[in-house]
Amino acid sequence: MNVALKQGDIYRGAWGFRNTPDAVRRFPLPFPEDRYMYSVNIEPHIPGPKGSVIEFPIDCDEHYVEECHERAIVLEEDPLRYQALPHMMSAQWDTLELGMQSLSQSYPQHFTLTRLGRHWHWINRPLGLDQHFTFGDPASLPRQPLEYITRQLQGDWVIMDQRDNDLWCEGGMVTGPADWSMDFDLGMSFKEWHGPVPLGHEMGVFDRALRFLLNLRLNEPVRRYNWTMTVHPRLDTSPHNYDRWGPDRGGVTMQNVADILHLRTELQGLWRLPRSNGIVFMVRTYMLSLRDVASIPKWARRVHRVLRDLHPALADYKGLARHRPIAVAYLAQFDDGTPTTPGTAPE
């Protein structure tokens, strides 16, 4: 992982966000086939190929520092993007442990965790942090444990309590959502939280997913992929600032579509937490411009076909209705009808 700090506005203003060729090739394409429909596409979160986004439990990539800075900017403006109910304190510590253990084991050149009983020492070199604290004692950290660790992790993080055969969304750090809100969802049950998703309820997807997650085991995390599209490389597409990004959807043209429209993949990870018996939900976002999508011939053909044939209800829910025809028209020039090979890897 190269964590070189880019200067300037990355996820806003001047849109300085760029993927290096390496980052393009490791982009997790969310389409294993040329068509897309919901499914309970949950699989064990076991290590994937070297260099891939699933090589380690928590991926840390070239955008690490800029993404942590972006989070700080969002929190400065809207502190309610981080919230946790009081009974979630042990789940907060569980999540802090997961984050620190995982980063320090996967990227020892950047992160070091030393544990002596409850006395922990954490070093985060990319962000220049050096913190001694007592595990379990909130007063020993500058912020609540979940806020402290998630300010140093990419992606959004939600902690859930398990009770009454349900999962309750009762804490989290959500600064880069695809149109959902921690402030709105706090305290909701699993199905309430997923209420706005079309088709899934009728298909029984949420019943099956909930039943599966209620039995999620320690040491056996799972993952799934989700996706949408975003105009500009804007991580923070929250309902709270829809006035800023909603109008962008009308500004996509054949001239700018390649550079401003981004395919947005969510790598979602779920871990059973040991002390709280809760679950932590990671939503890690990767963005790729359509120009970068088109640079991989197989992906250009596949994304073209998926968008072209997408169920209209899903296109509406994902907010694609207005610019989908433009994206399809742009990608059509790269699709000569050649079949795509199985799997998502570039050929």
Binding site: D94, Q162, L218, N219, V222, P274, R275
Partner: protein, 322 residues
């Protein structure tokens, strides 16, 4: 999705102590050194025992402190007649023995929003509460423990509990005709109280029935029961997806027979409670013998579902979608 327990943890027995004529207490430490996985009070582990002819996988509650992870502690009641697991633990396992365990699973956790916890233990059912008490002592939610045993002699942890919880623990012994006043206790709790019961079937049933009759919401009533799989007549099963024939011995569970045939079947509690092993029945030329606490009466009557961890069939051939 895989259901295997690929990641078992190798442990060595550090200490064995006989605490009553029928209960032994085991201390298990990781062979690899360091700490065992953190857990929450109420969790159990599956201990994998490799006997001479058969592999046993029995669930035991963790009773040690969730804050001390150098070792795990469990207690094993010798069941008579034993199907093999508890006898194996009592007879074959000694200091220095090596065992495998699966990561802890909690199906009996404390409710984090409870205003008060009412803990009811019967006999060996004290063990999950012993781990939970470590957490409860650090919190500020009131709790009380009522612990019933057959006699002081059979009360494995009576002394320990009354020393650790002098204000909050009440002991009851059948031999002295002192029984927990379930009706009285349940009828005088403040709203927001959660009740937890772990013990013999009869005790659990009494608590569930009384709580229901008194209008307790199901969400506030918790129980855990590790019933050994009941024995029965031998029968044959056919696993349709795996194309494997399985013979189930009289003292073997259907799940154990499936595992012995080399088929990886899902499970979590192995006690008929969690529903994870629920399997579709394609055909049976006799009747299903449901011993679980998970399926509804209608599901049991439908003959279409079975929980192989505790249930079996009185038939010559059972066909499963597995």
């Amino acid at each position: 999705m895989s259901h295997t327990h690929a990641d078992t943890i190798a442990v060595r027995v550090l200490a064995v102590e006989r605490v009553t004529p029928q209960i032994k207490h085991f201390t298990l430490a990781p062979i690899a050194g360091g700490e065992l996985p953190a857990f929450s009070g109420g969790s159990h582990i599956i201990v994998v025992m490799r006997g001479a002819h058969r592999v046993y996988r029995n669930p035991y509650s963790l009773m040690s402190s969730p804050n001390e992870l150098d070792n795990y502690q469990i207690s094993v009641l010798r069941v008579d007649p034993s199907r093999g697991g508890s006898a194996f633990m009592h007879e074959q396992v000694r200091v220095g023995s090596e065992l495998e365990i699966a990561h802890p699973v909690n199906l009996f956790g404390l409710a984090k929003l409870a205003r008060k916890h009412l803990l009811l233990a019967g006999g060996i059912g004290i063990t999950p509460f012993m781990a939970q008490l470590h957490d409860l002592r650090l919190g500020d939610v009131p709790y009380e423990l009522h612990y019933a045993t057959r006699s002081p002699e059979h009360g494995a942890y009576c002394e320990l509990m009354s020393r650790a919880e002098p204000q909050r623990c009440r002991l009851y012994h059948d031999s002295e005709q002192r029984l927990i006043d379930i009706e009285g206790l349940l009828s005088r709790q403040a709203l927001g109280t959660h009740v937890y019961v772990c013990g013999p079937s009869g005790m659990i049933t009494r608590v569930l029935d009384r709580a229901h009759a008194l209008g307790w919401p199901d969400s506030h009533v918790h129980y855990e029961k590790f019933s050994a799989p009941p024995t029965g007549e031998a029968f044959d099963a056919w696993l349709e997806k795996s194309r494997v024939a399985v013979h189930v011995l009289p003292d073997q569970s259907l799940l154990e027979a499936i595992e012995a045939a080399g088929v990886d079947a899902p499970y979590l509690c192995r006690g008929g409670v969690c529903g994870f092993c629920r399997t579709e029945v394609i055909a049976v030329d006799g009747e299903l013998v449901h011993n679980d606490h998970f399926l509804s009466a209608e599901e049991k009557a439908s003959g279409k579902l079975i929980m192989p961890c505790v249930s079996r069939a009185r038939c010559t051939k059972l066909v499963l979608n597995l």
